[in-house]
Symmetry: C2
């Protein structure tokens, strides 16, 4: 795991320091959408010392290099999404948790028909209740 991550970072031109590798290991393996503070809390124990500034710097670097995507969907904080492919988002009213929705699950038509806007990127943002899994 660590090996792979190191290679990925190097491939993006990011020097794989201990801090960066550990942060990357965490954010790339979780299927949550953690905020910088959550990352800080999770990763802090796994490394001798770690400053808040490093976490913020590292996450921002990852976003710049395309390893992560930054999402601003809910109030109060920016979260990071290891899934950089095209997909939509669903936000649970109860828990506030963000879930990925596959690109093809929802169809959007006529984006190109807008006369005033040249759309580079888009997504559907949904809010509501998560349905109980039927078994």
């Amino acid at each position: 795991m660590k090996r792979d991550v190191e290679a990925v970072l190097r491939g993006l031109g990011i020097q794989p320091t201990i801090q960066r590798v550990i942060i990357a290991c965490y954010v790339l393996s979780t299927d949550e959408h953690p905020s910088a503070e959550q990352v800080f809390a999770k990763v802090k124990g796994r490394v001798p010392v770690l400053s808040r500034a490093t976490v913020y710097n590292t996450l921002n670097t990852f976003v710049e290099k395309g390893l992560l995507r930054e999402l601003v969907l809910a109030e109060g904080n920016v979260v990071f999404d290891p899934n950089v492919g095209k997909h939509h988002h669903f936000i649970d009213d109860d828990s506030g948790r963000i879930h990925d929705v596959p690109w093809d699950a929802v169809k959007v038509a006529n984006i190109d028909g807008l006369s005033d806007f040249e759309v580079r990127d888009y997504q559907v943002v949904m809010r509501g209740r998560r349905r109980k899994r039927r078994r």
Copy 2:
């Protein structure tokens, strides 16, 4: 204008104080999507004294009562939208400005087909460049 706004506020069960009327006049007449700080800056001059807390309280009250909608789309701050009907949003890469996109300009299909989620509300969020108006 002031008269109308007073009536609207009263209709929603909001006591129309001077501060609230002036704030409402501003946010309801702008076609921007101002943040609380912007509202504070704009409105400050028009009333003898006005505290930051009042602006935040008032805007939150307006949202609760359905006069405004709160949007969290772009980094850094919550903005308020006087257009409470269904519509989509476009965010200009260059200026960061948010533009409304009519509900019918874009078609979304299969929202109801999602098996895991019960969608209460949704919108398409687009990013890109605003096209120069052709004349």
